[in-house]
């Protein structure tokens, strides 16, 4: 395969040289590890789908590059009333990729759809109860009662603005060949293999995207993505193996970038099972883990140790201390809990995730030091998810990433029970935390709401339904002529900003 491709490139190059043609259309090729499953925003929760949708669709507002604030998307301006119950958006003159204008009617339709029963993200939007279309370019949304995350949730992929007429006409088939107002439009989609995108000629950001076409190639093996980059088959390799970053960066013509996104890695503990029902045991497990060694040995320095299962984002408490590495104290706690001789437990890990696999092996050795014998069970990722969801597990290595800049999404996922996932299948429950969660959502942004988040994270830290591991960096490697690429704190990327220098 490879020699043949090179041959083709050679022929093409010589043909171009002979005819003296202008440079062909710029195509940006990206190798990514995730296979997008669906392009329907309300039916997605996997990164491959989300990242692709964010290239095709727009939202009213979106997280800015720093991940600290929101910036205009399809809405060029907005006002939020003092009580937080009325949100007014003024839409810009934007068009879908087929040339039809984006109207307030499309906005109402899309948000109502996101709030519908069919939506996986319904509870994020149901608090918005009223829509008033003032004009084609102005819409007012009203809430029956305060729900602070509502505004932020409109920046989430699930609130992508879709063309009402087309979705209604085509139904689910629309999402096989979707039309959006984002920087790119879908050209072709080979499931499990590649997505080809072409520049949206009607995109509202003047002069963008800089490239004419973009290809997302699905390459699940991390080393294979790097090899493709080195062979010149792609321009950007997402998530190269962390142990290869230094070597890659030293190579001529390749630049490595990294950022720590809103992500936290941890081990879920099934608190319905013994001995994980005992808080002291869970704390002991946290004390038995040398997190700095993990960051060095498993992330090769590309990351930070974690004090909780929450990504470090808005309202994070800078004073929240890590569980110090203290195996002696861990043994004491285990003895107090009646496990002086330790215990045996099974640890699930996704066999396809190299970093998690290595973490599991390191955890096993560290826990052995305090008498806990861990049996590692490698499973395919989907099976691991189903197994933890059904509650038939002891421990499981997993992680979470935030798609928004507001911590409400992730705290609801990892710490609140039942809410979205029974505290991410740990079945752990804190009345106080649930109370704070309900309260936080009614409190306007400000120090008061911040204090509530800090207290929730403190409870999560203290009662430790997880072994907190680290916040790993998200890395990418690109050819030197790729300019303007970066992974955002929300883990996705914007290809409209990227250009290829000649």
């Amino acid at each position: 395969m490879i020699p043949r491709l090179n041959m083709k490139a050679l022929l093409l190059a010589s043909a171009l040289a002979m005819t003296g043609l202008a440079a062909p259309a710029d195509t940006l090729r990206v190798a990514m590890g995730f296979d997008p499953l669906s392009l329907d925003p309300i039916a997605s929760s996997d990164n491959g789908s989300i990242w692709t949708q964010l290239l095709i669709f727009d939202t009213l507002i979106r997280p800015d590059r720093t991940g600290e604030g929101l910036e205009p998307g399809l809405a060029e301006s907005w006002t939020v009333s003092e009580d937080g119950l009325t949100l007014t958006f003024k839409l810009r003159e934007a068009k879908f990729s087929d040339g039809t204008p984006v109207t307030a009617e499309d906005v109402k339709f899309s948000i109502e759809r996101a709030a519908s029963e069919a939506s996986g993200w319904g509870r994020f939007y149901r608090p918005i109860t009223g829509f008033e279309i003032v004009s084609d370019h102005e819409i007012v949304m009203t809430l029956a009662e305060p729900f602070t995350p509502a505004f932020n949730n409109l920046a989430l992929f699930a609130a992508a603005i879709l063309p009402k007429a087309q979705v209604e006409a085509k139904g689910d088939a629309f999402f096989d060949a979707p039309v959006g107002s984002g920087p790119f439009m879908l050209k072709s989609w080979t499931r499990g293999s590649r997505i080809e995108l072409a520049k949206n000629p009607h995109y509202w950001q003047e002069g963008k995207p800089h490239v004419d076409e973009a290809v997302l190639e699905v390459v699940t093996e991390p080393s294979a993505r790097v090899i493709k980059l080195e062979a010149g088959e792609v321009d950007i390799a997402l998530d190269p193996p962390l142990n290869q970053l230094k070597e890659l960066d030293a190579k001529d013509g390749i630049t490595v970038g990294q950022t720590i996104p809103y992500r936290a890695d941890f081990v879920q503990l099934n608190t319905k099972r013994k001995p994980f029902d005992d808080e002291r045991v869970r704390q002991a497990l946290n004390l038995a883990i040398d997190k700095d060694a993990l960051v060095q040995g498993v992330l090769y320095g590309a990351g930070k140790p974690a004090a909780s299962a929450m990504p470090v984002m808005a309202y994070a408490d800078p004073n929240l201390a890590l569980y110090a590495y203290d195996p002696d104290r861990a043994k004491e706690l285990l003895a107090e809990a009646g496990y002086a001789d330790g215990f045996e437990a099974e640890l699930l890990v996704d066999s396809g995730a190299a970093t998690s696999r290595n973490a599991a092996i390191a955890l096993q050795a560290m826990l052995q030091q305090v008498g806990v014998t861990v049996k590692v069970q490698m499973l395919e990722g989907g099976t691991q998810w189903e197994t933890t969801k059904s509650g038939s597990y002891d421990m499981s290595v997993s992680y979470t990433t935030s798609d928004t800049i507001d911590p409400d999404q992730i705290i609801g996922f990892v710490a609140v029970n039942p809410e979205r996932a029974n505290a991410y299948h740990t079945e752990w429950h804190s009345d106080r935390l649930n109370e704070l969660y309900a309260e936080e959502r009614k409190t306007l942004n400000g120090p008061e709401r911040g204090a509530m988040f800090q207290e929730m994270v403190q409870i999560l830290h203290d009662e430790a339904p997880y072994i907190f591991l680290y916040h790993p960096a998200s890395a990418w490697a690109a050819k030197d002529d790729v300019q303007g690429f970066e992974v955002l704190p929300t883990s996705n990327f914007r290809l409209e900003e990227v250009s290829l220098a000649d």
């Binding site: 991390p222 080393s223 193996p241 142990n243 290869q244 070597e247 060694a293 060095q296 040995g297 066999s351 190299a354 696999r357 290595n358 599991a360 092996i361 390191a362 096993q364 050795a365 560290m366 052995q368 049996k375 590692v376 069970q377 490698m378």
Partner: protein
């Protein structure tokens, strides 16, 4: 004893036996040969190339690969030997019973082997382990279900042949019991080709066992089983190729040892004249 002498007389057999002896000694004497713990993490010494201190280098956790390869020999040899000689015992008895009894029993037992034979080896093993879940015990179960048929077929054929020879006729005429004829007179003669076959079977089984671990369906970490060592090394192959090479060479070493032993055995056991 005479067999051993014959075996040593053939160069292949002698070398194969010596290689096995070295492997066995190294496995037993691991603590004397290496000061390292095959499981202890030492991040400060991660991915060191082979040196006087670490003969085979260290892995991404700083574990000494020489120690891990030696410690892994126990897993691979145990798995390979049990997965060959366990099913071989079953296969030999089935083949003997089928070949000597003939008639309905023979037809029944041979149709059973046909059914198992109809599935490609790996497909069946993968399916069984897939259903039971990955673990060493389940690997044994899968190999016991699949691996006996080759022996049953070989021994049945031999038994049919030997049953018609004069000394068996003589034994029958002397009214020896069925069991006595089968076990004392036919078995020792019929088992020889099975034994020779088992040596090449061990080579294949070592590879199969490593392959199963490679797929994540065999022995689970942190056991230093060789297939597991190789799969764990893949991400580091470019910067630390010794992590892959040495476990791979260990599999080759054992493969050659058993192949030579099989070669020697077939010479040693060949009837004279």
């Amino acid at each position: 004893m005479r067999m051993l002498r014959n075996l040593l007389r053939s160069p292949a057999g002698a070398i194969g036996l010596a290689m096995m002896a070295i492997t066995a000694a190294a496995t037993v004497l691991t603590p004397l040969l290496s000061p390292y713990d095959p499981f202890a993490l030492d991040f400060a010494n991660a991915m060191q190339p082979p040196s006087a201190l670490h003969w085979f280098g260290t892995d991404n956790f700083g574990r000494d690969i020489f120690t891990r390869v030696l410690a892994g020999a126990v897993y691979d040899l145990r798995l390979a030997l049990v997965c060959v000689f366990g099913p071989m015992a079953i296969g030999v008895l089935v083949g003997l019973a089928a070949g000597y009894s003939g008639g309905r029993i023979d037809a029944l037992l041979m149709r059973l082997t046909d059914i198992v034979w109809a599935f490609p080896f790996y497909v069946l093993v993968l399916a069984i382990v897939g259903v039971l879940g990955p673990s060493e015990t389940n690997l044994y179960i899968a190999f016991f279900i699949v691996n006996w048929i080759g022996y049953a077929r070989i021994v049945r054929g031999e038994t049919l042949l030997i049953s018609r020879l004069e000394f068996i006729e003589a034994a029958r005429v002397l009214r020896f019991g069925r069991l006595r004829v089968m076990l004392r007179h036919i078995l020792p003669n019929a088992v020889t080709p099975a034994l020779v076959y088992s040596m090449s079977d061990v080579v294949l089984t070592v590879q199969a066992v490593a392959a199963m671990s490679f797929f994540g369906l065999g022995v689970q970490p942190p056991a230093p089983e060789w297939g597991l060592l190789i799969v764990e090394s893949i991400d580091f192959m470019r910067e630390a190729p010794w992590m892959t090479i040495f476990p791979g060479l260990a599999i080759v070493w054992i493969g050659i040892a058993f192949a030579l032993l099989g070669e020697g055995l077939s010479t040693a056991l060949k009837p004279k004249g």
